[in-house]
């Protein structure tokens, strides 16, 4: 995973350096790569019979996890909002 991180920072650095000279639309490129990756993930998953039979378990775990994550971040966002507003309007 460290290689992946290092490559991201390399990209960031390169982007900063090239920023003034090159104008490219990378988001389409990224979409293609992500789609390709998800397809490979789908293939890996499809071959894993044990996993295919556990789809319902995965769904329940995922639903509980996402609901709690959303609730948690909403609660802290609510507290943060009150704190910002309490300390004077736009918070600047």
């Amino acid at each position: 995973m460290y290689i992946a991180l290092a490559l991201m920072f390399l990209g960031l650095l390169l982007g900063r350096l090239l920023g003034g000279f090159v104008k490219v639309e990378l988001s389409k490129c990224i979409l293609v790569v992500i789609s390709l990756l998800l397809m490979v993930l789908g293939i890996e998953l499809g071959f894993n019979e044990q996993l295919v039979s556990r789809f319902a378990h995965i769904g329940v775990s995922a639903a509980v996890l996402s609901l709690c994550a959303v609730l948690g971040s909403c609660v802290t966002a609510g507290i943060f909002y009150k704190y910002i507003k309490g300390r004077g309007g736009d918070g600047s």
Partner: protein
Amino acid sequence: MAASIIILSSFVVGLFLAVFGIVPSDFDFSAISKYILYLLMFLVGLNLGLDKEVVKTIKSQPKRMLLLPFSTMAGTFAGAVLAWGILRLASSLGAFGGLAETGSLSLADSISVGAGFGYYSLSSIFLNEARGAEIGTIALAANILRELITIAFAPLMVRFFGKLAPISSGGATSMDTTLPIIQKTAGNEYVPLSIFHGVVVDFSVPLFLTFFISLG
């Protein structure tokens, strides 16, 4: 939304390719996914580096508002710990018809899934590589759901938790897929903050994942 549909369809296509045996099963797909992940990470960094607007957006924000991503992270991790507790309890009580039996989901895994912050493609790929296909798939489903829940419930979030709630709930997606609904429910003035929030949270995903994965 169009991008999400394309990405999800690719996943479903891959699933069918395997289930119906259209692609050979003795091929090492995990090695391929690793190298595509490297390419993806490089492109994500490059894209962020090339975008001059990001720095401008960050500079235009009121100072204290810039702490919002940290509030999102704290809330999400608290939620992930709660979810792990609920799943553990439900599993031991046999609730949800026994479906809450979590198998190998550790506390670190639960927080790792939360640390996807809605960035389902990257988090599922990372966790698939590091923790296996089951955790990877939970990460995929949970983070897709996070995006969908945000889009569906943004108006309620604003009413009960204030205007920053849909931004936090959107997580890493607050700069793209959930931005339109945030703009609609919280207002135009929250768009720059939402983009800034998305960029910071987005960037934190691989950092947190690397950290939590190392905890096992």
